[in-house]
Symmetry: C2
């Protein structure tokens, strides 16, 4: 039996019931986040809670999530999660019966928290597909309206690629279909600037902090990737995964030595922080 937190209480997942009038079901009107569990402990949880809170504030979804970490800890213990994830979803709820449209009216936002037992991610080497779906909206957090990511991942899979590379309308590199992008050239670490329209990853920040050498955050086009020595992506599902090729760009990685090094640094930090 898997327990979840749902609208203020801990229940069995099978008992949760979302209405067909729910605005997250209807419009993707809500935010979510996913945090890592290692050694039965939450890793870097404050960063996830902070991001979720930023999304709620930006979109004016009024709900207090001050006790989120306590809820997450309770579920990790109750569901006996050693390695895996905690997923947090906020829906704006339903409109009152007098209103049916996009404009929120008398909504009652609510929080769902669930866990998943998943082994710690092994090292992967991925191929990316340059997506025909463009990044467009500055995103303070992950949002439940994520169809463009779904379509970008679906398109990449059809091309035999494991992930997508998403640009904005001006051709600037933004992110992958499910995480941030980095590349290394002459031992300098490059990554798109947070001015660009993508979600600032919690792992992205850890990678920058742990790198130890020069880091350049900026606005880049595909040319920058063509010349890279190594490329990798970061997210909570892979931690760090090498990008071995980008199609149809024609990029093929020359190396993944530094990618593996930064991954090991990150894993060492995670182990240190969760084995206390």
């Amino acid at each position: 039996v898997a327990y979840i937190y749902f609208k203020g209480e801990i229940i069995e997942e099978s008992e949760a019931r979302i209405s067909i009038d729910d605005r997250s079901f209807r419009f993707g009107d809500g935010v979510f986040d996913t945090a890592l569990v290692v050694n039965s402990k939450l890793y870097d949880f404050a960063a996830h809670q902070e991001r979720l809170k930023r999304g709620l504030e930006t979109f004016e979804i009024e709900i207090d999530i001050a006790n989120l970490e306590e809820i997450a800890r309770t579920l990790v213990e109750k569901n006996s999660i050693e390695e895996g994830y905690v997923r947090m979803i906020v829906s704006r709820g339903e409109n009152g019966p007098e209103a049916m449209g996009y404009l929120p009216v008398n909504t009652q936002p609510y929080l769902v928290v669930q866990t998943a037992a998943v082994p710690f991610p092994s090292y992967k080497q991925l191929t990316l597909w340059v997506s025909s779906y463009e990044a467009h909206m500055p995103l303070p957090s992950k949002v439940n309206a994520s169809l463009h990511y779904v379509l970008a991942m679906q398109e990449a899979a059809k091309q035999g690629c494991e992930n997508a590379l998403i640009l904005n309308t001006k051709g600037h590199i933004c992110e992958t279909g499910s995480g941030n992008i980095f590349w290394i050239k002459d031992e300098v670490l490059y990554t798109p600037s947070l001015q660009l329209p993508f979600v600032a990853g919690t792992v992205r920040k850890r990678v920058i902090d742990l790198w130890g050498g020069a880091v350049e955050e900026g606005v880049f086009t595909l040319d920058a990737l063509s010349e890279a020595d190594e490329i990798f992506m970061s997210n909570i599902g892979h931690m760090v995964a090498a990008v071995k090729a980008i199609k149809p760009l024609g990029y093929a990685a020359k190396s993944d030595v530094l990618t593996q090094q930064i991954r090991e640094k990150l894993i060492a930090e995670i182990q240190a922080q969760t084995s206390v």
Copy 2:
């Protein structure tokens, strides 16, 4: 008691149960449409069904909706709807337990159909707010990932406006926050071209067909609206509503005579087709 069609059967709305792992709840991964009911009859239903089908095909959501009109008719009768709407929602369903991310894996899409009793829309004069949210993605149908419309409507409401005016990243006029936009200058009817990123309205098509004079579909900037004699929006919720002002553009309508005429033509068609 309101009956709905849910996953293959007709049930009471309160019995419907959507999982927290549903991809429409999680990601807005699905499509929807809303059709008008007048005199207990469906109006222009084929256009809605066709649009929904186009969305399903584009997004590769595999579900057969051939019997949609029959389902809609059954619910209109069972729920005794004289005037109102039929809303159709397709969710891609849940991923199998082996996959949690954006990429659809072994999903089972399903259809939800519900009705709402709402009086036929009275004539409205609206003020629009030029949105800071930009249109970006070509949309074959309405999509469940509609957070940008929610935010555009929310922003407009905060500015004391009833709806939003949405431009693309190049400043081209696209649509309102919940329907299409038209304007009249020297008795020519203007509206954004379907090449632009917005959903082609069923009412938009009826307005163009019924206009009877010159129609120009094209790519326009806000200057075109500043000079307009009349502006109106079209959707299934208003049919045709006059735009009396656009903020902060400073537009104030000089007239709404031709707007009222086209609305009356449309209502005459609806009455004729639903009173058989």
